[in-house]
């Protein structure tokens, strides 16, 4: 039996005495997009950050391919990290402003693969093409790029790690409507081509309805229901 890509089990988070959320459970299958809907301040971003290991929940389990990442050793977890990636809400701070776009794009490759310069260049260009970036975008500093272009670069650099699972935290809420559609369509295309799964966090129900297979509703710190959107996906 194969495990789902990600299973979250009774996740809970407390800051001091106030409970941010509790009893959060869901799982995401390969190639599936799960939407997470909630108001601002409902703790949905914190859930996403817990999954990628940027914050430690106060209770519960997070299983990636059946392995609990919370009880893992530091080294072991670092090895697993490339498989679970995150896209953030604010494009303007998502890339290092002191590095040009291309350097930002291939950074994960430099960290993880021992690729030589030539193959780095080649792989970088492949990724750029995959995400619809043109060469003139790649020689600029992030300050000279638009929000949509930056989110493309972010996607490209994430795809460099060939992840299994991506947490997308409001990836388009700072973008214009016409660009939002571009990015969401690109994410769908990447899913079709690589089978990656998404947790799409948003306060925009219409967006979630359009691109998700299932939507989890977060209310008062817990998931009240998970709705199936009929998109003909096999689970």
């Amino acid at each position: 039996m194969s495990f789902p890509v990600l299973t979250v089990n009774e996740l809970a988070m407390k800051f001091g005495t106030s409970e941010v959320f509790k009893n959060i459970s869901f799982s995401v299958a390969r190639g599936e997009t799960l939407g997470l809907f909630g108001k601002s301040g409902s703790g949905k971003t914190t859930i996403g950050r817990c999954i990628v290991g940027l914050e430690k929940p106060t209770g519960g389990k997070i299983l990636v391919h059946g392995e609990d990442i919370l009880s893992m050793g530091k080294k072991e977890f670092r090895k697993l990290r490339p498989k679970i990636q995150m896209i953030f809400q604010h494009p303007e701070t998502s890339l290092d402003p002191r590095m040009k776009a291309f350097e930002n794009l291939i950074e994960p490759l430099k960290i993880h693969s021992g690729l030589k310069q030539d193959s780095l260049l080649k792989r970088g260009e492949e990724l750029a093409e995959l995400t619809g970036l043109r060469p003139e975008h790649l020689v600029r500093y992030p300050g000279h790029l638009s929000g949509g272009e930056i989110q493309r670069i972010v996607l490209a650099r994430i795809m460099a790690l060939s992840p299994d699972f991506i947490v997308a935290d409001e990836p388009t809420s700072m973008l214009d409507v016409s660009v939002q559609a571009q990015i969401l369509r690109l994410m769908q295309k990447l899913q079709r081509e690589t089978g990656v799964s998404y947790l799409l966090i948003s306060h925009n129900l219409e967006v979630l309805r359009k691109v998700c297979h299932r939507i989890a509703y977060l209310e008062n710190g817990t998931i009240t229901s998970i709705e199936n959107i009929n998109r003909g996906i096999k689970t």
Partner: protein, 313 residues
């Protein structure tokens, strides 16, 4: 005669050796009693128009054109005359309610000062304001006045600002991006707020927004802006239901509920605008003419469209 008439308004911001063309040659009229919507994506120049009307842009901005309000050209008024219009005849509801209230002054004082300059008794004015606040869904307004802005929620701040702007029942209310940065719930509240303002005060309103839902709900006529100019102008329902200009079409079908169809590319650089149609690069049905000649805005089916092929669209 219309209440507000804008003729050939252009705004440039000098940036180093170049200039950013924020608004180029915009003309439209707002009739008495109507709600006119200016819609467009970020950077389309819509907010700049709102600020330019009341001469609130920084001094470095180069402005040309005419703004005729009740027969007066606002651009040739003396500062003291202009002050008589600001806040009294034309009010502005600025975007970003958080930044528009002075953080170190109590809310009460910030409401009160509107009356100070108008030879209206402060107490009388405050009474009126408190009534207005209640009407605009603010509970316990007396207490609000003793608080500081940071102690209010985003939605409450917006209502407070709305209340200040409506103190004198202005002839024209300019609302700049009232739903920007608000929660979905507060956003829904804003729609209620503006429907109410429109119904109860019935005065002329210029609504600047990127929110098509709000525009459809509240506006009578809409002008769609792209890269600093108006590309389409018509009745709200016509623009949003049967758009003519390819950009408007694209904008509408990019909405999630209309299919999330992406518009390719992005707005052109405003320092070096393209020679032909500004939308040419992103347009799905551009012809040879489009890359060479900049289209003029022309009458089309009761509205105005800026496209070489409007009759084909």
């Amino acid at each position: 005669m219309s209440l507000l008439e804008i003729r050939g308004l252009s705004v440039e911001f000098p940036a180093g050796e170049n200039a950013v063309k924020a608004v180029s040659n915009v003309s439209f009229e707002v009739e008495e009693g109507e709600t006119f919507g200016l819609i467009g994506e970020s950077g389309s120049g819509k907010s700049v128009i709102g600020l330019a009307l009341l001469r609130l842009l920084p001094e470095s901005a180069v402005i040309s054109g005419e703004v005729i309000f009740q027969g007066q050209n606002l651009f040739s008024l003396k500062p003291s005359e202009l002050r008589n219009i600001r806040g009294k005849k034309i009010s502005l509801m600025p975007q970003n309610p958080a930044g528009a209230l002075n953080p170190v002054l109590k809310n009460g004082l910030q409401i009160e000062e509107v009356f100070e300059e108008r030879r209206v008794d402060k107490k009388e004015g405050m009474k009126r304001s408190l009534k207005l606040m209640k009407k605009l869904f603010l509970t316990d307004p007396e207490k609000l006045c003793t608080l500081y802005p940071h102690q209010l929620s985003g939605g409450m701040r917006q209502r407070l600002i709305a209340c200040m702007s409506l103190s004198f029942e202005p002839e024209l209310l300019i609302a700049d991006e009232p739903t920007k940065g608000l929660d979905p719930e507060a956003k829904a509240g804003a729609v209620d707020l503006f429907t109410k303002i429109k119904k109860e005060y019935g005065k002329t309103m210029l609504l600047i927004t990127h929110d098509l839902d709000l525009a459809l709900e509240v506006c009578d006529r809409i002008a769609v802006m792209y890269a600093g100019e108006i590309v389409e102008l018509n009745e709200a329902s016509k623009v949003l239901n049967t758009p003519v200009h390819p950009y408007t079409k694209g904008l509408i079908s990019a909405q999630p509920r209309n299919g999330l169809v992406p518009l390719r590319g992005q707005s052109p650089s405003r320092i070096k605008l393209p020679e032909g149609c500004f939308f040419n690069e992103r347009c799905r049905c551009s012809g040879i003419e489009c890359s060479k000649k900049h289209p003029e805005i022309k009458k089309h089916k009761g509205g105005w469209v800026r496209c070489h092929f409007q009759s084909l669209q």
